[in-house]
């Protein structure tokens, strides 16, 4: 009998500093943890506990997985001080992940805010491996400041890819920034997306998800075509401990990516 709560040992291979507050941790689990884009894993910091993260790496890479982590609380503080070589733990994957089957043959609008681009990167990388199967991939990404944009080194390559359109914005510019200024919804004006044939997938702070959703609805997106990555406090991963529910759904088991049509009536949807 395998204990469902037992983590798989994983060696921390590399720590990549993305921004002053965000790092990517490259982990090599003892046995591969094979996931679909959007599914999440529980990362164990030995002795301290677990926290849920959706891998930011491609689901097509199976021997390693990456999680991109904002320094935000007790556990992530400790993670940010960790050096390569230490043993951590991984449990999962959990959840349904992004609805890839629905996205094939469609235009896909990906809207990310801050560290919310992390789960979306997994989707973006998966899509790029078979970009011909999608009509178009539009990536709209915003962060607080230019220094807080994650994966900056990848942007040039992403934008060059055929079928990919990429736009960035920051809440507050700093010297040298010549791009857009404003919250991520400014990138939704003049979208150039065939809305009836498009799906939108968004991840970021819940307040951002709220305004992105409202704007998408205004633009004519159907609730059925909007997917939100609601990465809340998932814990057991199996729909039992009861801490991550959004309405009747358990984000850990039924999400963390949920269709807006299914949750639009939930009273505390956006906190």
């Amino acid at each position: 009998m395998v204990n469902q709560y037992c983590p798989i040992d994983a060696e921390l291979e590399e720590v990549i500093e993305e921004t002053p507050t965000i790092k990517t941790f490259v982990l090599r689990p003892k046995t591969p943890v094979v996931f679909r884009a959007g599914q999440f894993v529980q990362i164990t910091v030995p002795g301290l506990g677990e926290a849920p993260f959706t891998p930011s790496s491609s689901p097509n890479v199976t021997d390693k997985l990456e999680v991109t982590v904002l320094r935000a609380g007790k556990l992530t503080e400790v993670m940010h001080e960790m050096k390569p070589g230490v043993t951590m733990g991984v449990r999962g994957p959990f959840g349904k992940g992004y609805p890839m089957d629905k996205l094939y043959g469609k235009e896909v609008l990906v809207v990310g805010g801050g560290v919310g681009l992390a789960p979306l990167r997994s989707l973006i990388l998966a899509m790029m491996d078979e970009i011909g199967k999608f009509k178009k991939l539009s990536i709209k990404y915003g962060a607080k400041s230019p220094a807080e944009l994650v994966y900056q080194n990848a942007f040039e390559n992403w934008a060059k890819k055929k079928g990919v359109d990429m736009a960035l914005t920051v809440d507050m510019a700093s010297p040298g920034w010549s791009g857009k200024v404003g919250v991520v919804t400014v990138l939704l004006d003049g979208l150039g997306v065939d809305i009836p044939n498009a799906y939108a997938v968004s991840c970021g702070p819940e307040i951002m998800l709220k305004f992105v959703t409202l704007r998408l609805l205004e633009l004519g997106f159907k609730p059925e075509h909007i997917y939100l990555s609601m990465n809340r406090k998932m814990s057991c991963g199996m729909g039992k401990c009861g801490r991550c529910n959004v309405g009747h759904l358990y984000l850990c088991k039924d999400g963390p990516d949920v269709c807006y049509a299914e949750v639009q009536h939930v009273p505390d949807l956006f906190g």
Partner: protein, 349 residues
């Protein structure tokens, strides 16, 4: 399928308890002398300690979940698993629980034994547990099982059920486990007489009628799901929250509340850690709080409403079952006298 209906005398029941005490860890309901009002509590029964069994008018204070999902449970040690953690749970026999507790197992079984992920620890404990229930001859004014479709007596889910009659108890066998207990102590049982069965029926009817009178004033115009489906939160929510001090007594005492906190702590040996879980309360401010301090339900009234939404709406969506058995423990334990029936009545206005 109906099984045998038997009779056991009060003296023979004492003998049966002695037999069961050797079968596994036996817990029976007792009435502590100093207890006022005369609440029932479970006590362990062993050769060293043979407390007196009390049949009781209503359910004991402790919810049945205490025996199946420990208040604090050590799940594993890591890195590396310890074989001792995997040993099967000890056999336990629980005597004296009532219908609202048997009913609460529907919630627990739905969550922990069904679907993609089964909870191995719960499944093993459930299998190792024998349930001997009893009727509720005199419901209290906080009992409302009948409003949830229940009755003041069990019709399913038990291994043996006891109904007190003159000189002893009518015993109904509800499962193979129950059948085995009876076959092993055949001499203690005899077939129940028509008179004893009539006495049981009369007692059950009396209790059901009493519950109907007690709960008449709480009858609702709409279903609880219809009431909770209202788009805008009712002004009744903050009113009903009243003087709630967020102590969580309602949910710790609740036999259907099952949510838990998963946490890690230092193990016994250096370099080893333990993963454990403990009961938790969704009305606590930190319950769904995330790193950075954000929480979907920052106000107590949001969490209060969530408690009702989860039990009566979301759970119903997922399992076609309301996660409440009408035992009234939440009201009895509540420092602010919050009564589920009154909350719904106010929302239904």
């Amino acid at each position: 399928m109906s099984r045998a209906e038997l009779f056991i005398s009060t003296t023979d029941l004492a003998e049966l308890l002695r037999v069961l005490g050797n079968e596994g860890q036996l817990y029976i309901t007792t009435r502590p002398v100093a207890s006022e009002p005369p609440d029932l509590h479970y006590r362990p029964y062993s050769t060293q300690s043979t407390p007196e069994f009390a049949y009781g008018d209503i359910r004991p204070v402790e919810p049945l979940k205490s025996f199946l999902l420990e208040v604090r449970e050590r799940l594993l040690e890591y890195p590396g698993t310890e074989p001792a953690a995997e040993k099967p749970p000890a056999k336990q026999i629980i005597v004296g629980l009532k219908q609202c507790d048997i009913e609460s197992l529907k919630t627990y079984d739905s969550v922990f034994t069904q679907g993609e992920f089964k909870d191995d620890s719960y499944v093993a404990k459930r299998q190792a547990t024998t349930l001997i229930s009893g009727d509720c001859p005199k419901p209290a004014d906080f009992c409302f099982c009948t409003m949830l479709g229940g009755r003041p007596y069990c019709t399913e889910g038990f291994d043996l059920n006891m109904s007190q009659v003159e000189g002893g108890y009518v015993i109904e066998v509800g499962s193979d486990k129950g059948e085995k207990i009876v076959s092993a102590s055949k001499s203690l049982f005899k077939p129940a007489s028509a008179g004893q069965l009539d006495e049981r029926s009369a007692s059950r009817k009396k209790a059901t009628d009493a519950l109907n009178i007690i709960n008449k004033e709480y009858e609702l115009k709409k279903t609880r799901q219809q009431i909770l489906a209202a788009k805008e939160p009712s002004a009744a929510w903050p009113e009903q929250l009243g003087y709630c001090v967020e102590d969580g007594a309602c949910l710790f005492a609740c036999p259907t509340c099952y949510c838990f906190l998963l946490y890690d702590q230092q193990g016994k040996l250096k370099g080893k850690y333990e993963r454990a879980r403990s009961w938790d309360v969704c009305m606590y401010a930190g319950y769904s709080r995330m790193a950075g301090g954000g929480t979907p339900r920052p106000r107590l009234v949001d969490r209060f409403r969530h408690r009702f939404m989860h039990k009566f709406s979301y759970f119903h969506d997922n399992y076609k079952l309301e996660s409440c058995s009408g035992c009234g423990r939440c009201f009895v334990g509540c420092g602010a006298n919050i009564d589920v029936r009154k909350v719904f009545k106010a929302l239904d206005e």
